[in-house]
Every structure is written in C-alpha cells, then in structure tokens.
Amino acid sequence: MPGLRIVLAEDAVLLREGLVGLLDRFGHQVVASIGDAEALITAVREHEPDIVVADVRMPPGYSDEGLRAALALRAERPGLAVLVLSQYVEQTYAAELLDGGGSGGIGYLLKDRVGDVSEFAGAVERVAAGHTVVDPEVVRQLLGRRRDPLARLTPREREVLGLVAEGRSNAAIARTLVVTEAAVSKHIAGILAKLDLPPAADDHRRVLAVLAYLRG
C-alpha cells in the first residue's frame, strides 16, 4: 500500500510521538499530529488526509471529544476514513461510530492494540482502503449478548465471524486460519444464511451487516 497521509489526534505526548514513529516505520506520513479535538477538525480541513486516527478521550473535557469530533468530521465529509482508539471497549461508542453513516472506512480499536505494531498498521491500511475494522473485544461482547441464533453456528464459523468483523478479506481470513479461500467463502455463506442476512460481496457491507445483526 502506498504511503498514507494521516492526521493523528492523541493528547498524550509520549504516545503521540510513538505513533508517529510507528506509522512512519510502515511508510506512512503523519501530516499533522495534534492534542485536542478542535485542532483535529481544523487540521483535517487543512490537510485533507487519507485517514484520521483519533483518541476517544481528549481535552478540554477528557470525556469523548475525540469520538464526537470524528462523528462531526464524518458528517461533514462522508468519504473520510476514521479510526478511533479507545482506552476501553465501549459498545456504545462503537455503535455510535458505526451508525454514524458515511461511506469511507471506519474503525474502532482498543488502544492496547497499537502494541501489536504490524497488525495495527494493517488495521490503519484496511480502514484507509474503505473497510470496517472493529475490535475483537467488541465482537466478543456482542457474541455474548445475542446467543440464540448464534448457537447454531459451528465453532469454526464463529471464528470466521470474528475475523469478518475485524474487516478482514476472505484471503486474509484464509491465511489466518490456514485454509483455502473457497473454504472461507463457504463458511461465510453458511454464517449469513444462518443469521438470515442477505449475501454480500463487498467486505465493508458484509461487516456492517453482521455487526448490525449482532447489535440487534
């Protein structure tokens, strides 16, 4: 993937500098790194980045300014890709983000995931490419909530479902599970059928459909 132009919003200086270094290491360019939500909106207008990576909690209120700014930006330019980092997994935040509309890629990840540097960089790239990435923890919680129809899924299908929700393509899922792509397609068709969801070719729509079902 060619180098992405990224606007990064994170108030902890140590982490901000680290993230700039990390993204740089994977060949991307952080065109603006800022520490508060208002500056984020200005920076996006100025730099027109490929993707915004933002912390949920930022000054001045240290509440959810980052998330609100991200939602506002999406409303303003629906094609903008946004990856939100959160210190905790909150289904509510994830739901607000996914329900916010817009056509660009969207992601919600636990901040801890930046430790797995390659996977984190991968997630940034997937979101920038228009996919949806949702933290496995959120999926796990949603799976725990809606049990009845999900009980019909085989353990393998659940595993595949988790990876689908992370926004992975069939090829990537096949690599992770060490099976053929055809087998993955079969699993996914089975999942969608068991959950009464329309079959979808586009990864992004597929993820959203599954998540919408899980949140139900």
Binding site: R57, S63, E90, T92, G115, V117, G144
Partner: protein, 402 residues
C-alpha cells in the same frame, strides 16, 4: 450493651428491666407533663373568672412566652428516657440584643416547630401522659387500697392488696412504652438530627466517588499511556530484531508481559470508576456490564436523559454486583435488567431464572449494597426463594427528574 432508651430497655429480660432505673425514669418523664396541666388549669380558671376572650388572650400569651422555654424543657426531659444527647437545633443570633434575637428566632424554622410542639403538649400530650400513668396504675392501686376500704375484711383484703402489689411491676411496661414513643416523637420534632447524619453520609459517598473519578483519570493519563507507549516500543523493537534470535525471544516475552499488564490495568481502572457511566449515563453502563456477563442478559432500560450522579452510580453498583452474583452463584441461563423512572424514582430490577436462595446475611455483597442504596435514600428488596427465581429490586428517589 446496656440500653440507651426506655424502648430498648423494654425488650430486655423482665428481671433486668424491672430492677433497672428505666421504669422510674419513664414515670418521672411522664409526670413532668404536670407543668402543662398547671398552665392549662390556669387558663381555664381565667375563663371562669374573667370570661373566655381574656382566657384566649392568656392562652396565646402563654404559648408565645412559654413556647421556647417549654421546648427547652422537653429537650432536657428527653434525657430521662433517651441517653443520646438532643442537640438544640436553634440558630445563634449574630449579635447581642433583643432585636437580633427576635430577627433570628422569627426566621428560624426551629422556632415554629418549638411553638407548634408546645401547643400540642398543652392541648393533648399532657393529659395523655398523665392519663397513661393513671390508667396503668389504677387497678393495682385500687386493689392495694382494699384494707383501707370500709368494707375490707382483714385476711381477704390483705390478700387483695398483695395481689395489687404484685401487679405494680406490670404497669411499668405501658408507662415505659408510652414514654419511649413520646420521646421518639419529641426528638423527631424538636431535635431532628438523624436527617443530617444521612445527608452527611451522602456527602461522604459523593466525595468518595469524586476521589475515584480522580484516581481513574490519573491512572488513565499516567500509567496506562506509558504502558501503551512501552508496549508499542517493544513491538517496534521486535520488528528490527532477527526472528528466532535470543534477543528477539527476550523482547517478545517482555512485549507479552507489557500487554498483560495493560489488560490488568484496564480492568482495574474499570473497577475504580466506569468511564462510560460518567460519559453516557446509566443505560450505556448497564449495557456494558451486561455485555461482559458470561450468562446472556437482556437489558430493558429506558430513562429520560441523565439522572443525579449519586442515583446513577448507586444503581450501577447494584447492577454490577447482581451481575457478578448471577454469574457466580445463580446457575441461571438467562437474566434480565429492567429500569425505568417512575414518579420521580429510579426503579431497577434484576431477575434471573437460576436456583434462588440468595441470602443477604451470608455474603457481605448484598448487605453492602443495601447500605449503599440506603445512603442514596433508596430501598432495596430481594426475593430469592429456594429453587428460584431471584429478583433484586431497588428504588432510588431522583428528585426533580420526570
């Protein structure tokens, strides 16, 4: 512990109660009402002599002049049947002099309670007090007076008198009971201190919550950010080391350790204070707790906006604790959290289809919850028969919410 009120003394063994000073103290307490009897008799005599209008004037004057001293007398006499000190709720005038004194008194609600209680004492309480003493001792005294009656025959009348003497201790019970009840009423009106204790406890809980929010924020801004940065650096270092080398193995181990520490810290911070509660309110926080539960839990919480912080945090802890119990002890297959705001009170109900038999006495968890709910002025009820189902219900007043 020796009893501190005549009411608690009543519940002890009869031998202990009757030998104690409590019956005598109760009797003395009630007899003090004779003072009011004197005042009332005086007013009635004025009515006879000088007519009703003048008597009415005298009555008003008596209440106005004697109201405050009488209330002070009531507070002092409380000591006879209730050892807990009765604080004087009246405000101090800011300056010396009659003008400041009057201004303070007129604006102090305690003044009006004092006057009201004095009127009550003059109109009703004194004759009830004396009547109680009379009624309780009437039959025993009558029997004891048998030898003095003109018709008294020597042996029989002495036996009857002996019977009366034996009945005297029994009269101690109604006397102490009424004295105790009257003292409770007096304290509630003239020395209302308990409400303040509850309010100050609520303030304490608020202060604790503020402190927990601060700790949560400090951990979030400090240790957690540093650990994330550390984990990221270790992740980057791993990339630069040749795979399979001893150094890579060491760094990989350190990296995993850092990630575990981060996960533990995250759980710890969540326990200290749930961020989503502050940010998004009770419904979101309940959804979050329910989502974490290993037992599937349906959430049906519908609230109009945000509630007072104390109500939110109390209800949140109730739901968390109930969820923990549900997962650990109930053996339930399904749970339900129901929450509504009705008539200015938040009602939360947590039900499951488990084995029941939850005992508030056995574990400190439920008892602790009841304490928390009480501080928020709420009520907690638990229904958990053996064999289930279990239902835990709390009602917490939210004044000003509709």
């Amino acid at each position: 512990m020796p009893p501190r009120t005549s009411l608690s003394a009543l519940t002890r063994r009869p031998s202990a109660f009757l030998r104690s000073s409590w019956p005598w103290r109760s009797l003395a307490y009630l007899l003090v009402s004779g003072v009011f009897a004197v005042v009332v008799t005086g007013v009635i005599m004025i009515a006879y002599r000088f007519g009703v209008p003048l008597a009415c004037g005298a009555a008003v004057l008596a209440v106005a002049l004697l109201g405050l001293p009488a209330a002070r007398l009531e507070r002092r006499r409380l000591r006879l049947v209730d050892l807990a000190p009765a604080a004087d709720p009246r405000r101090e005038p800011p300056r010396r002099g009659p003008r400041a004194w009057f201004a303070t008194r007129l604006r102090d609600p305690a003044t009006w309670r004092d006057l009201g209680f004095t009127m009550l004492a003059l109109l009703a309480l004194w004759w009830i007090d004396l009547g109680f003493v009379g009624l309780a001792t009437w039959v025993p005294l009558l029997l004891m007076s048998a030898p003095l009656q003109p018709s008294g025959e020597a042996p029989t009348s002495y036996l009857v008198a002996l019977g009366g003497l034996l009945m005297i201790p029994l009269s101690a019970y109604p006397i102490a009971a009424w004295a105790g009840a009257r003292a409770l009423m007096t304290r509630a009106v003239l020395a209302p201190g308990d409400a303040e204790v509850i309010r100050s406890r609520a303030r304490l809980v608020d202060a604790f919550e503020a402190e927990r929010r601060r700790i949560e924020r400090d951990l979030h801004d400090g240790a957690q950010q540093r650990l994330v940065a550390l984990s990221m650096r270790l992740g980057l270092a791993r990339l630069d080391l040749p795979p399979g080398s001893p150094a890579e193995a060491q760094v990989a181990e350190a990296h995993e350790e850092a990630k575990r520490a981060l996960a533990e810290l995250r759980e710890l911070i969540r326990g200290v204070h749930p961020k989503v509660l502050t940010d998004r309110g009770l419904r979101a926080a309940v959804l979050d707790v329910a989502g974490r539960s290993p037992v599937p839990v349906d959430v049906d919480v519908d609230l109009p906006g945000r509630l007072p912080p104390l109500a939110e945090v109390t209800a949140y802890y109730v739901v968390s604790e109930a969820m923990a119990n549900l997962a650990k002890h109930s053996g339930a297959r399904r749970g339900l959290v129901h929450g509504r705001l009705r008539d200015g009170a938040l009602t939360m109900e947590i039900c499951d289809d488990g084995v029941g038999g939850a005992d508030p006495e056995a574990g400190s968890g439920l008892a602790g919850l009841a304490d928390r709910v009480a501080v928020a002025d709420g009520v907690m009820t638990l229904s958990s028969p053996r064999g289930g189902p279990t239902s835990l219900r709390v009602e917490i007043p939210c004044p000003g919410c509709e």
